[in-house]
Amino acid sequence: MSDEPALMSLVAVAKAIAGKKLSSREVTQSCLDRIAQWQPRVNAFMAIEAEEALAAADAADAALAKGQNLGPLHGVPLAHKDMYYDAGKVVTCGSKIRRDFVPTTTSTALQRLKDAGTVRLGSLQMVEFAYGPTGHNPHYGAVRNPWNVDHITGGSSSGSGSAVAARLTFAALGSDTGGSIRMPAHFCGVTGFKTTVGLISRAGAMPLSQSLDTVGPLAQTVEDCALLVGLMAGADPEDPTTSSQPVPNYMAATTGSLKGLKIGVPTAFYVDDLDSEVARVLDETIATLKSEGAEIVKVELPDQRQLTAACQIVLATEAAAFHKRWMIERPQDYGAQVLMRLQNGLAIPGVTYLEAMRWRGPALAAYLAAVTGTDAVIAPVAPLPAATIAESDVGNSLDAEAVIQRITKFTRPINYLGLPSLSIPAGFTKTGLPVGMQLIGRAFDEAGLVRIGAAFQRATDYHQQVPKAA
């Protein structure tokens, strides 16, 4: 067992710093050492701020020595997807267009983590403007999967998935509009939490689709994610779409058993057209949940293909609207694939977009009716494990959209419905690539997913596996 502090979970390291068993400097230096070792191989970081991080760690240690504890993450070093505005820091959004963009405000989610005492390690790579599921980036290079650097990380939170998997940061913010947290979590073997639309403020987070964007973490464990979501969730005057309901204690849900819970397994769509190893991991996950006390029931869901289509219509239209000015003024500064996908939104009539938005309520009602009696639904995150970077580099070719749609087919319906979904490491392929499963819950029932996911992680050790440096 290694004694590298960087290998600890977020919750464990926060406790060690608060209890003065480790200093923030020791922990931060451990992360920086791993970053120096891994960054040339995986390209997970956009910016590494070693000196500033160590100075902030020293300040955290000095504060603690004086009896000042800033919060539950006092002195814990983190890095996040480079789309969360941090006043005075360059936020590229993975793009050439915003290569030098310096915001004057800090995003609410990031500020709440800062208020909890975190130290900034730098910023993490991402797909250009968060619009792509593979992890390719024509401006800053593809991010690589620490389990096999020839393979994709998934996107768009590519750096977040890669960095957490390689233990370069204890956790990282991602964003999920069509699967961008769950996909890297699945491909990189980490835990990822796509939260309910309206739970966490999007203020100061780069927009892609105002109806579908969600903020959430990637981390080693469900417990880590529960802590982070609890710190970030809640009403924000800067984002009027946030819910005003009190934030539950998600950490309290990490100890519950699965006895008395019902977990639904879809009879179609999410179990169709699966890679054989993903199918095997799904079966093994269901068996584990059952052995831990859950009752497994079959659920017949409404036609999910219509949800994926509606999601694509909403996302393409809203993204095109956000980017229209740059599509006119700076089309040459986009990568080919992102420009192609933005152009798709130009061809959707207003009536069609509004129909897709109007159908959201009835579609959610139909889904909830279909899962009545269950606490969550289990499904694969994607039908396949991580492809190679070379074979998935489809650019703006004629079949690019079809390839993208296949990768995201199991995540987009959940974005359209606005539901929470927890991606958990659930196994490995014979070649050593991670496979994740998603637990899909009811709106604002993140605590229910935490309970199931934490119980699964007590019974398995997939989330504790660490890729080896060459």
Partner: protein, 65 residues
């Protein structure tokens, strides 16, 4: 509802103020076409008294398991 063909896409991009040539229009039609096909069973079937904000009523309703 039918998927737009390349000529229609070209006209729509012009109306949107971001005109595209025939080649790009063909690529857009190819890319976005399946979404139109997938949504076709829903399109034109929704009752009048539903608006986008109706979603929030469903999402935030107290639902028991």
């Amino acid at each position: 509802m039918t998927r737009p063909d390349p000529k229609q896409v070209k006209a729509m991009t012009e109306i949107a103020g971001v005109p595209q040539d025939a080649e790009v229009s063909a690529r857009i039609a190819n890319s976005i076409g399946p979404a139109f096909d997938g949504f076709a069973p829903v399109s034109g079937t929704l009752p009048m008294d539903i608006e986008p904000a109706s979603y929030l009523l469903v999402q935030r309703a107290k639902v028991s398991k």
